[in-house]
Symmetry: C2
Subunit: 685 residues, 2 copies
C-alpha cells in the first residue's frame, strides 16, 4: 500500500484532541507545540473542559470545529482512543497520531483492539501513526508535534522510541543539524517503518534517513525500501541479547530479529548498522558529505603524534589499515613540513601548525591530491588556535575554507576530529559539508562508514521461490534424500535395522565405513556415531555397543570419507520471524560451538554470492590454499551453500536445516555432506 | 630510584627560560601561565632580549636571578637545550621541564644527546621532565605550565602526548572534573611514567590515575607501580597496528608493546585499559565513585523502552547479562509503578516518570536494595523535566538527592545516562559522586569498568628467575630435549640420518610412527612431515619422498600419538621488548592461523594461573567435557604451560619458543608435545 502522507507532515488544518491546561500533561505540551505552526495552518484545540489554553479556544468536541482537521493528534488515554479515532474519522480526518500506550505491547487483547482500529482507519482512507508514540515533526512545514521542540535539518528519522527520537534530535543539534521529518511510530499498527522509508526516499528535504526500529514486520519489504531509497539509510536496532529482546517485547510488542539476520538484512539493503544514538548521528553527519572514498586507503594527518597513533589503531580495529605513503607523496610533504615531521602515514605536522596554521591546509591538500589514498582523517588541535587571538581565529577560519575546497576539488572525503568542535573553524568546516567530530572514535566510525558507503552497491534481493511440496518426514534418511534432491552431494549410505543387514551393507559399500544410530537429535554428542570401522569385526562391535547404550530403532551404514586434507564447513539455514529464510556457512567440526566464524545472508543466494560468503570466513585461508596447503573445492562448497539456501527458501515448513559437516575436498574433488538434520516448524505456516 | 618530586609540582621559586614577547610563541604562553601562580610563588622570566613580558621583568640569564629557581621550564630550541640545562643546574635548579623536540625520537644521535643530558641532571641530584613535552600542572598548587590553562580536580594524569593531555582536560571539564596533577612526559628521558605513577599514588589530592603512554620502558616496574598504587589506574596506549607503531616511534621514539603484552600487563597490574581519551575520562569518572559491584548482575532502569533495550544489548556486548529480577523484587516494583511498566529487567517506568518524577527515586532504590543485582544503570529522559518548569527543576534535583542517598546507603554503584547531562539534576548527581554520562555507550563502559574494578585483585608479579645456562643449539632435537628437561612431556623419538636407521628406530618404537624432516622452520607447511606410517613400507616410501623433495640433513622418527579424542593446544612464549617474557596458550591445530583464541600472561606463571589461562579460552568447553565429551587433562595442560613459562623466563636468549601442538588427552592421561620450536635472539641480551 502506497499512500500520500502529505496530510501527516504538511496538514493545512490540525487538531489536538485531549488538550489540558495542566502544564505537566502531554495535552498541554502538544497544544503549545501545535501553536508554533499556527501562522502556517489552522490549529484547533479540543478538550472536554473547554476554556482556553495558550491563549487559544479549546473546543469541547471535534464536531464543534468550523472545518474538518486534516491531521488529528489524539492525546487521550488508551480507553478513550477508539472513540476519539472514530470521532476523527467521522469529521473527515486524513491522518491520525495516536499517543496512548496500552495496546499490542500488552498482549493479544491489545493487539486485537489495535487491528480493529486500523481496519476502521484504512476503510476511511486515512492513515494512523502509533499507538504508543510521541508524535511527528516536519521542519520545513514547521510542524512541531513531539512534546518538545525539535531542530530542523536534513535528516529524516523514523523511531520506535520517543526518547531515542528526542536524544537524536539533541545530538544532531550539537552538529548544527536536525530533522527534515521525524516520526515516532510506536507500535506501527498502520503506518510502519517500511512505508515511511519509502516516503522519506521521495521527500526532497531529506538527505539521509535514520531509523530506530525494534520490529521490522515484513522484513524483506523493509530491506527493499532501504535498498531503493536512493539516499543513505542508517539503522539502529536492538534484540542482540535476551534482555534486549525482553525490553523490545514489552516496549512495543516487537518480535525482534536475531543479530545475524539484521546484519544480513543491512548488507542486502545497503544500510549502515549502528549500535547507539551517537553512532547514528555520527554516521548521518558523515553521509551528508557528497564524497565517497573509492577504496579503503586512509591517510591520517594531525599535529599530535599521540593523536595519529590513536587514530591509526582505531582505524585498524575497524579493519582499515593505513598504507605507507609513496615516496613522491612523502617528498611533497617534506617540502611543506619541518624535518622533524613524520610523513609515512600517519602524518604528524610536528609543530608546523603552531608556526603556520596554513600548513594544515597545504599538507592535507597534498594528501587528498595523492593517488595513494582514498580519504583523509584529520585529527588535530585545530580549532584551538582560534582561542588564542582574533588574528589566529581569522586564519583558522581561512584554513577551514581551504580544507573544504581541497576536499571538494579532489572529490575525496575529509573527516575531522578536533577537541574544539564548537569553535568557529569547526563550524565553518561543517557548513562546507566536512564532518567534524569531538571524539576520535566518532571520526574513525565516520571514516569507516564512508568507506562502506563507497563500497556497497547491493543487488536486488533474490525473490523467494514458490513453496515446494512440503517435507513430511524429517528423519535422517529423509533429510539426506531431500537435500540430495536439492543438489547437495552425500556419500553412499544404507539404512539398516539389524546387525546382519549392517554387515551386508558394509560389504556392498566397501570398508572403511561409519555407523550412525538414528533417531537422536545430536548423534555425535550422544555418542551415537562409530567412525573409521575397518572390517566386519569393528563394525559388529560398534553395532553391539550402540544397541547396548542407545537402543536405536535403526542405523545408517555409510562409506567413510577421507577427511584428512579436507576442511569441514557447517552449512545451515533457518527462518527469521521477520526476514524469512537465512543461510549460514561456518567453520565446522568441533570448533563450531566455541569459535564464532560464521557468515550469514538472506536466502536464497546464487552461487557467486554463496562463494563470497564462504570466502568471507576467517577460516577461508584454510580453504583457499594458504601457506602451502592445497586449494580446496570452494566452488563445490558454494554450490552446496546455494543449493541449501534454495531448499530452505522453498520450504517454509522447515524451521532449521543443517549439513554439518560438509567436507570440502581438494579442488575438483567436490564437497560432500557427512551428516544432515532437518527440524520442521511445529505447525507449518 | 625514588625521588622527591615536590620541586616539580610545588616549587617555591620558578623560572621560565626562553620567554618571548611574541604572542604566537610557547615562551610567551608559558610566561603567561606561570604568572597565574605568582601570588603563591616567586616567578622569574628569562629571555635573551630582556625587557618586559606580561608586565614582568625578563632577565637576560639565569645567573641574573636574585635566587636559585627550584623549577625551571626550558622553552628553548633543541640546539640550545643542553646549555640551558647546564645553566639551570649551575644555579641550583632541582627540577627541569624540557619542552623542545628533536632528541631520541629522531634516532640514535638524539638518543645519545638525551642520555648525556640525563646523566648530568642526575649527577646534580635534579629531575628532568621531557624533552619533547608540553609541561606540567598542579591544581592545588596553582601551577599552570601547559601552554593553556587546565581544569583542577581529582584525576592525576601522565601523558606522552601533549594534545592528548589537553583533550583529556577538556573532556574532564565537561563533567566538572579536572586534574590534580598532570605531566606531559614526552621522551621520558629521566622521569618516566613508572616514577610518576608512584608519585601520584602517594599524592593525597589524586584519587584516580590516568595514563597515556607509548613506551613502558621497564614494563614490569610499571606494572608493579600500578598494582601497588592503592587507587584506580586507567591506561590508554597505542601500537596495535603497524601504523600506530610507526606513529609512536616517530613521535617519542617509543618501542611499543604488542597488544597482547599490554593486555597481560593490565591484568597483572589491575589497570583499566581503554582505547580513546573519551573512554579514559569515562572510566575515571566511574572509578571516582567509592562503590564497587560485588558481582556482574546489573539492572537497567529507564523511562524509555528503547533505551532499556539499547542499554541491555550494549551491556551484553560487554559480556554482562541482565538477570531476570526475582519475583519479590518485581512485586515491589509493581507496587511502585503503573501496570504497563515492565519489571523483569530492564525496568521501564512506562510513563511513571512523567506522572511523578519521584518514581525514578523509589524504583531505583528498590533495585539497589534488592539482592538480585550488584549495580544499577539508569538511562532516562531524567534531567529533561527540569527544562519544563522551575517546579519540575526543583523536584528533579530532589530526586537526584534521593538517588545519591540510595546508592550511598546500599553501597552499590549507580551509573546514569541522560540526554540532559548539563542539567542541574545531572550536576547534582555528579556532585554527590554518581557518574553521569551523555551517551549510553559511556554509561555502559562505566558499568563494565566498575564490574571489572570490583572483581580484580591481582596478585604480585612472579619474580623473573635467575637466567639459566643459555641454550646454544636451537635445532629440533635440542629444543625437544631442553623443553623435556623443563618438565614438558614428549613422546619417544629418535634422530636419524639414513633410511635403515629410520626403519630400525621404528622397529624399536613400534608402529605407527611419524617421520619429520629436520632443519626446516615450518615443517608442516613445507610438507616435511609424514603422519600415520603403519609399517616399514609406508615409512620407507615417506623417507624417500622427503629426501627427493626436501633433501633434509636428518630426520626424526617418533611414536605416533592417538590424536582422536584429544584436543590440540598451542603453547608458546616470546619476549616483549618492554614487558619481558610472555606465555601464550591457544586453540591449536589448523585453526591457529585463522581464528584467534589465545590467552596471554606475563611469564612465569604458576600452575593455578596457567590453568586459569587455559580455562579462559573460548575453546575451553572442548577441554572440560562440554556436551557429553570426555573431560580432558586440563591439569596436565596447565602444568605444561607453567613449565614453558618458567623456561622462557629463565632463558633471555630465547626469542620465541613454541610447543604446537600440545596434545591434551583424557583426564589422567596427560598432555604431550608433538612438535617443538625454539628461536634464539640474534644477539642474546
Amino acid at each position: 500500500m502506497r499512500r500520500d502522507l502529505t496530510p501527516l507532515f504538511e496538514p493545512e488544518t490540525l487538531a489536538i484532541v485531549g488538550v489540558s491546561a495542566d502544564s505537566g500533561k502531554w495535552g498541554y505540551w502538544f497544544a503549545r507545540d501545535a501553536a508554533l505552526g499556527s501562522h502556517r495552518r489552522r490549529v484547533y484545540l479540543v478538550g472536554r473542559n473547554g476554556g482556553e489554553v495558550h491563549g487559544m479556544t479549546v473546543h469541547r468536541s471535534l464536531g464543534e470545529l468550523p472545518e474538518p482537521p486534516e491531521l488529528v493528534v489524539l492525546s487521550v488515554p488508551a480507553d478513550g482512543l477508539e472513540q476519539a479515532v472514530d470521532d476523527s474519522l467521522a469529521v473527515g480526518a486524513r491522518a491520525l497520531v495516536a499517543i496512548a500506550a496500552g495496546f499490542a505491547e500488552l498482549g493479544e487483547e491489545g493487539a486485537a483492539r489495535e487491528r480493529a482500529l486500523v481496519e476502521r482507519v484504512r476503510a476511511a482512507g486515512a492513515a494512523l501513526i502509533g499507538p504508543n508514540c510521541l508524535g511527528v515533526f516536519d521542519g520545513a512545514a514547521e510542524l512541531q508535534l513531539a512534546s518538545t521542540p525539535l531542530p530542523g535539518g536534513p535528516v529524516g528519522f523514523i523511531s520506535q522510541s520517543g526518547n531515542v527520537l528526542l536524544e537524536i534530535g539533541l545530538l544532531l543539534e550539537d552538529f548544527g543539524l536536525g530533522f527534515s521529518r521525524a516520526v515516532s511510530i510506536g507500535n506501527q499498527a498502520d503506518v510502519d517503518a517500511t512505508e515511511l522509508v519509502s516516503a522519506l526516499a521521495e521527500h526532497d528535504g531529506t538527505r539521509v534517513i535514520g531509523i530506530y526500529c525494534e520490529d521490522f514486520r515484513d522484513g524483506r519489504a523493509f530491506v527493499e525500501a532501504a535498498r531503493t531509497a536512493g539516499k543513505p539509510v542508517v539503522l539502529l536496532t536492538v534484540g542482540r541479547t535476551a534482555a534486549g529482546r525482553r525490553a523490545a517485547l514489552s516496549h512495543t510488542g516487537a518480535l525482534t530479529s536475531g543479530r545475524e539476520a539484521v546484519e544480513a538484512a543491512c548488507r542486502a539493503g545497503g544500510m549502515h548498522l549502528v549500535e547507539t544514538p551517537r553512532e547514528l548521528v555520527d554516521a548521518a553527519q558523515a553521509l551528508l558529505t557528497p564524497h565517497r572514498p573509492h577504496g579503503r586507503r586512509i591517510a591520517v594527518i594531525g599535529d599530535g603524534g599521540g593523536y595519529g597513533a590513536i587514530a591509526s589503531d582505531l582505524l585498524g580495529g575497524s579493519g582499515i589499515e593505513l598504507p605507507v605513503l609513496s615516496e613522491p607523496t612523502q617528498a611533497r610533504l617534506r617540502e611543506l613540513l619541518p624535518p622533524t615531521a613524520s610523513t609515512a602515514n600517519p602524518v604528524d605536522l610536528a609543530g608546523a601548525g603552531e608556526q603556520d596554521v596554513f600548513s594544515f591546509a597545504h599538507s592535507t591538500r597534498a594528501l587528498l591530491e595523492s593517488d595513494d589514498v582514498d580519504a583523509v582523517l584529520f585529527t588535530a588541535y585545530f580549532g584551538g588556535y582560534s582561542t588564542l587571538s582574533d588574528e589566529m581565529l581569522e586564519r583558522e577560519v581561512a584554513v577551514a575554507g581551504l580544507l573544504a575546497e581541497a576536499t571538494a576539488e579532489s572529490g575525496k572525503p575529509l573527516v575531522v576530529h578536533t577537541m574544539y568542535p564548537s569553535s568557529p573553524p569547526a563550524h565553518a568546516l561543517r557548513a562546507a559539508g566536512v564532518p567534524v567530530y569531538r571524539v576520535i572514535e566518532s571520526a574513525v566510525d565516520a571514516t569507516a562508514t564512508l568507506v562502506a558507503a563507497g563500497a556497497t552497491v547491493p543487488a536486488p534481493l533474490a525473490a523467494l521461490p514458490p513453496p515446494a511440496p512440503p517435507i513430511g518426514d524429517a528423519s535422517y534418511p529423509a533429510a539426506r534424500a531431500a537435500l540430495a534432491g536439492a543438489g547437495i552431494s552425500f556419500g553412499a549410505a544404507r539404512t539398516v535395522s539389524g546387525r546382519e543387514e549392517a554387515l551386508a551393507s558394509a560389504a556392498e559399500l566397501g570398508y572403511p565405513v561409519v555407523l550412525k544410530a538414528l533417531g537422536l537429535l545430536h548423534k555425535s554428542d550422544a555418542g551415537g556415531v562409530g567412525l573409521d570401522l575397518w572390517d566386519d569385526g569393528e563394525l559388529a562391535a560398534a553395532f553391539d555397543d550402540l544397541v547396548a547404550r542407545l537402543a536405536p530403532e535403526s542405523f545408517s551404514v555409510e562409506a567413510a570419507e577421507d577427511v584428512a586434507g579436507g576442511f569441514e564447513l557447517l552449512v545451515g539455514a533457518r527462518r527469521d520471524p521477520r526476514f524469512g529464510p537465512l543461510v549460514a556457512v561456518a567453520a565446522g567440526g568441533i570448533h563450531v560451538e566455541t569459535v564464532r566464524d560464521t557468515a550469514v545472508a538472506l536466502a536464497p543466494v546464487h552461487e557467486d554470492a554463496a562463494e563470497e560468503l564462504v570466502r568471507s570466513l576467517a577460516s577461508a585461508p584454510l580453504l583457499t590454499g594458504a601457506r602451502g596447503r592445497p586449494p580446496l573445492d570452494v566452488a563445490a562448497a558454494a554450490h552446496a551453500v546455494a543449493a541449501l539456501s534454495r531448499f530452505a527458501a522453498a520450504h517454509p515448513e522447515v524451521a532449521e536445516v543443517e549439513v554439518n559437516p560438509l567436507l570440502v575436498s581438494r579442488e575438483g574433488e567436490g564437497a560432500v555432506g557427512l551428516d544432515a538434520r532437518i527440524v520442521l516448524t511445529s505447525s507449518a505456516d
